[in-house]
């Protein structure tokens, strides 16, 4: 029978007496010693007094020894193994080189862990060493797997990682410490540093986190960071985009920064980086001139020795919408046509109307002695046709054409033509001063219009006739469907006269004049077209007011005029609701490696959902000006289909969609999507040792930098010790010499007291 192996001992009391009895007896002993001391207090000899005190104390201690019955307890014990977590950052920034031309940061960590393997193994006596990669979810890794699999995670969340590690592990084993390997490029909770709640969360872990910073701070890199821009902007309203240009290793260099819209430069600036690690804010203010969604890109040059090239551009999508439609109404002279259009525009809450009427020409004589008797103001031609022209969404000329030099716009015709070409909207309303009538021909402006003058106007009353194109067009859709629209136009009163014009090639005639022909075709009454990036509409009469006022002569209210001009304005400003095919990138900005989604909503000409429509969407690269992928699908009952493209290369893209239902063309539409070159993770290659140091300091760990020769002596909490086997007590008091010593002490005191005369 083998005796058990004991590996620990401790001193214990083997007395069977309860603890309180022992306490009382101990107090009695102390009292006895005290009384003895009291009895010899008058002893003149100090030596005798000390001798008596010493003998009594010695006897008391000996008595206490016998009372407590001391013994040695032999024990069999074991240490509980705690955990040590080794955490390795698996975010994409760990793929950056640890130094120019060096291995990646992850490779450097893997190399270190290989090197420190013996020391980590040595820890296994007391700890279970668990090795995780975090992205930020924890996943077991080995030095070999680290070297093999590149780090890809789109974010760095150090706090989430250490929290997860504290809660992970086997069973109830406690964590004795963490070894955190990272570049410190946190872009989540610790982005702002170890402050506030993040600091409290780290302190609450009660586990020392020793940090190992990997990567050099002195990496050379230019990055476009800190993009600040709204998700949407108002057309023809200035907008500011702010970015920060972060340069490391570019001290004293001038860096050009360019803002472009789908390949076209919008603005550019140059910043000078003053120090080796400098951040310069750059703001671009520009005025979008078209509604829609567009991809904008901020770019800085890529230098050959940069650590990361992908963070030198930053793309974003901007949805440009209209606020209130800002309309400039320029009227050649007051007329009923002007009066009803003004009434309509003024009562439309969505219209911001700015108007200028020519109330008096040089040939008019108001019969006043002083201009102060008139309320007239000078016609601010330069202001409205030059400096402020681009602030208007729609410019309407209503029978405005003057040859008189003081009122002629000959000088500004090119401005107006360019305004339309560059995305503006223009309406020419006819009359006896324009479209071939009067003396002001305005040839440059006429280039931008969908019709050309073709002869003298005809005063014969006529009923406007809807063309097949007009039957489908949103401008002339004044009914709830095609039949209703056709009936509504048929009910409108005749119009007294129209300008004689011909449609230019490419123009769409929506309404024509049945009895007037030019070049063998019916003269257009209402014609539209896209000119450059803008749109133009011509109404070849000055009597559309008949659709407003005269339409009520028979008693029934008519909204035809309001609907027509309302539709026209919405079409002119490209109201998305007026398209039969609505294309929406979903989402408009795509992170690297993510698919590009697009939602297409198809409607019939009467704006009812187009079920079972065949939709084709082309992913068109703006950078290469080539299509890169095509997807097709069929719409559901709601006329909607969602398609997805495999992750394309970074850059700006257009989603060009078209749809058909049977043989019916449902039109086309487009949207823009930005596929980002880098997510937040890769936009900054910097290393943040100060964050790593702060984490270590807050948790009681130590901060180190790689490379290291081996694992340093990191602070770890000691694991607890637990009794796992039997115990054996060995009494100490039951020895004869202890009894002899007690008797000798008591006897010696008795003898001394007798000798000194105290008994």
């Amino acid at each position: 029978m083998n005796s058990p192996t004991f590996n620990a001992w401790k001193l214990v009391s083997l007395s069977p007496l309860p603890q309180w009895v022992l306490v009382l007896l101990a107090l009695g002993l102390v009292l006895g010693v005290a009384l003895a001391a009291w009895g010899v207090r008058r002893e003149p000899s100090r030596m005798r007094r000390v001798l008596l005190w010493t003998l009594r104390v010695g006897a008391g201690v000996a008595a206490l020894f016998f009372l407590l019955e001391p013994g040695i307890r032999h024990l069999q014990v074991a240490r509980m193994k705690n955990r040590v977590a080794v955490l390795v950052d698996r975010s994409a920034s760990m793929s950056f080189p640890s130094e120019p031309g060096g291995p990646t940061r992850t490779a450097q960590v893997a190399s270190f862990l290989e090197k420190a393997a013996p020391q980590l193994a040595a820890l296994q006596d007391r700890f279970t060493v668990e090795m995780y990669g975090f992205d930020p979810e924890l996943a077991p890794v080995t030095p070999a797997s680290l070297a093999k699999e590149p780090a890809r995670a789109g974010t760095t969340d150090l706090l989430a990682a250490v929290r997860a590690a504290a809660g992970a592990g086997q069973g109830a084993r406690k964590l004795s410490g963490m070894l955190l390997f990272s570049d410190g490029a946190d872009n989540q909770e610790l982005k702002a540093g170890v402050v506030g709640r993040a600091r409290a969360a780290l302190a609450d872990l009660n586990v020392p986190v020793s940090t190992f910073t990997v990567g050099q701070e002195a990496l050379k890199d230019l990055a476009v960071e800190g993009l600040k821009v709204d998700d949407f902007a108002f057309v023809r309203n200035s907008l500011t985009v702010e970015v920060e240009i972060h340069g490391r290793g570019f001290s004293g260099r001038e860096i050009p920064v360019v803002l472009s819209q789908e390949g076209k430069t919008v603005a550019s600036k140059t910043v000078r980086l003053e120090s080796s690690d400098d951040m310069k804010p750059v703001s671009f203010t520009f005025t979008p001139d078209q509604t829609g969604r567009f991809v904008y890109t901020v770019t800085v040059p890529t230098f050959p020795d940069e650590a990361v090239a992908d963070n030198n551009t930053r793309s974003f999508t901007l949805k440009v919408i209209r606020d209130r439609v800002r309309v400039l109404l320029v009227v050649g002279r007051p007329s009923w046509d002007e009066r009803y259009l003004r009434g309509l525009l003024r009562q439309d809450a969505n219209v911001d109307l700015v108007s200028f009427y020519i109330l008096r020409t040089l040939s008019d004589d108001p019969g006043v002695s002083s201009e102060r008797e008139l309320s007239l103001i000078p016609f601010p031609m330069e202001e409205i046709f030059d400096t402020k022209l681009d602030t208007f969404d729609v410019v309407i000329f209503q029978n405005f054409g003057h040859a008189d030099p003081s009122l002629s716009i000959a000088e500004y015709e090119r401005n107006l033509e360019r305004y339309i070409h560059n995305g503006g909207a223009f309406v020419m309303i006819g009359g006896d001063s324009v479209l071939g009538e009067g003396r002001a021909m305005m040839p440059t402006l006429m280039e931008a219009l969908p019709v050309a003058a073709a002869g003298p106007a005809n005063p014969e009353p006529f009923k406007a006739r809807l063309t097949p194109e007009g039957l489908r067009h949103p401008i002339t859709a004044i009914g709830t469907g095609a039949a209703s629209t056709e009936a509504a136009w048929g009910e409108l009163p005749p119009i007294p006269g129209a300008n004689l014009t011909t449609a230019r090639p490419g123009a769409t005639v929506l309404l024509d004049v049945p009895h007037m022909t030019a070049d063998g075709k019916n003269a257009p009454l209402v014609a539209v077209w896209d000119y450059g990036r803008g749109r133009a509409l011509v109404m070849a009469t000055d009597a559309s007011w008949y659709w407003s006022f005269a339409a009520h002569r028979d008693g029934s209210p008519s909204r035809a005029y309001d609907r027509f001009w309302g539709n026209a304005l919405r079409w002119l400003v490209r109201d998305p609701d007026l398209t039969t095919l609505k294309v929406t990138a979903d989402p408009p900005s795509v992170e690297p490696g993510r698919p590009v989604g697009v939602v297409v909503q198809a409607r019939m000409a009467d704006y009812q959902p187009a079920q079972d429509a065949q939709v084709r969407v082309e992913l068109f690269s703006v950078a290469s000006q080539k299509p890169v992928a095509v997807q097709t699908g069929t719409t559901g009952t709601d006329g909607v289909v969602r398609l997805e493209f495999a992750p394309p290369a970074p850059g700006p893209y257009k989603l060009l969609a078209s749809a058909k239902k049977g043989e019916t063309d449902l039109g086309s539409g487009e949207d823009a999507v930005a596929v980002r070159a880098v997510g937040p993770e890769l936009s900054d290659a910097s290393v943040r040792p100060e964050l790593m140091e702060a984490i270590a300091k807050t948790t009681g760990g130590k901060a180190y930098k790689l490379p290291q020769d081996g694992l340093p002596d990191v602070p770890l909490l000691d694991p607890p010790v637990v009794e796992v086997g039997r115990a054996k007590d060995q009494p100490l008091w039951d020895r004869w010499y202890y009894l002899v010593a007690l008797i000798a002490l008591l006897g010696a005191e008795w003898f001394a007291r007798r000798r000194f005369g105290y008994v």
Binding site: S335, R339, D365, V368, I377, P459, P496, G555
Partner: protein
């Protein structure tokens, strides 16, 4: 009440003055888009100021850029043809019988859908005569929009000329009254026989003396007439913000 004798010279001058109206722009679009006052026929004396209306149209042509047909055309208030003439003049000397229901309904529709009416008490009445009949009928036509005095800051006093009163042949009431539909004055009403100050006799002379202000008051009445026509054509154009600083400066 003729103030001037018909002379051959006056006749020639009057005829010559009409010439520009005929020679200005070609009638490419006919006359329908031009300014032509319509005149309301009612059961009383409705056509006493036809020449005055022709005259104010002529003045409008001469002094402003507005193109007119120097004519005034009478219509029954129940006529659908009224809807081709957004400017309607309703005057009279003495009371007139109640309008028919059809006339009331048509006039209400005319005013509601954008027509404008200038009412004018040719008899200068106040509480009787034309005034009583007109107020009675307007209470039927626009019961929700009673006649109220037009404030001096109203745009009608600055739509072309800067004015601060509303004289006519008479000056019984210094201001106009209006029926407002929303922010628009659908009816303007003068009790000063405004058109009486414009009226010409067949010889071309002004038909009536103007009191108490004489010829300067007539000029103001003409200017007011032009302003009213301009208001009918341009609505609140002169209330646009771009005009305000200059108008305020001129009024100082």
């Amino acid at each position: 009440m003729s103030s001037r004798r018909l002379t051959r010279r006056n006749l020639l001058l009057g005829t010559a003055a009409l010439a520009p109206l005929l020679s200005r722009r070609a009638d490419a679009f006919g006359e329908k888009s031009r300014f032509i006052p319509a005149v309301a026929r009612h059961g009383g004396n409705w056509d006493l100021r036809m020449s005055g209306l022709r005259r104010i149209a002529w003045e409008l042509q001469r002094r402003t850029s507005v193109e007119v047909v120097p004519d005034a055309r009478g219509f029954q208030l129940s006529s659908p043809d009224l809807f081709e003439y957004p400017f309607l003049y309703m005057g009279g000397d003495g009371s007139f019988p109640a309008l028919t229901d059809a006339e009331v309904a048509n006039l209400r529709r005319y005013l509601t859908y954008g027509g404008f009416m200038l009412a004018d008490a040719n008899d200068g009445s106040d509480g009787d005569g034309f005034d009583a009949s007109f107020r009675r009928e307007m209470a039927r036509v626009l019961p929700q929009s009673p006649l109220a005095e037009v404030p001096s800051g109203h745009v009608v006093f600055k739509s072309f000329f800067l004015l601060d009163a509303a004289p006519g042949r008479l000056l019984n009431k210094p201001q106009l009254a209006a029926c407002m539909l929303g922010k628009r004055a659908a009816v303007l009403y003068s009790q000063n026989d405004l058109a009486g100050a414009w009226n010409r006799s067949e010889s071309g002379d002004y038909e009536f003396d103007v009191s108490p202000g004489g010829e300067p008051q007539r000029e103001l009445a003409v200017r007011l007439g032009i302003n009213i026509c301009m208001y009918a054509l341009c609505l609140d154009y002169k209330d646009d913000a771009v005009h305000l600083p200059l108008i305020l400066n001129k009024r100082r």
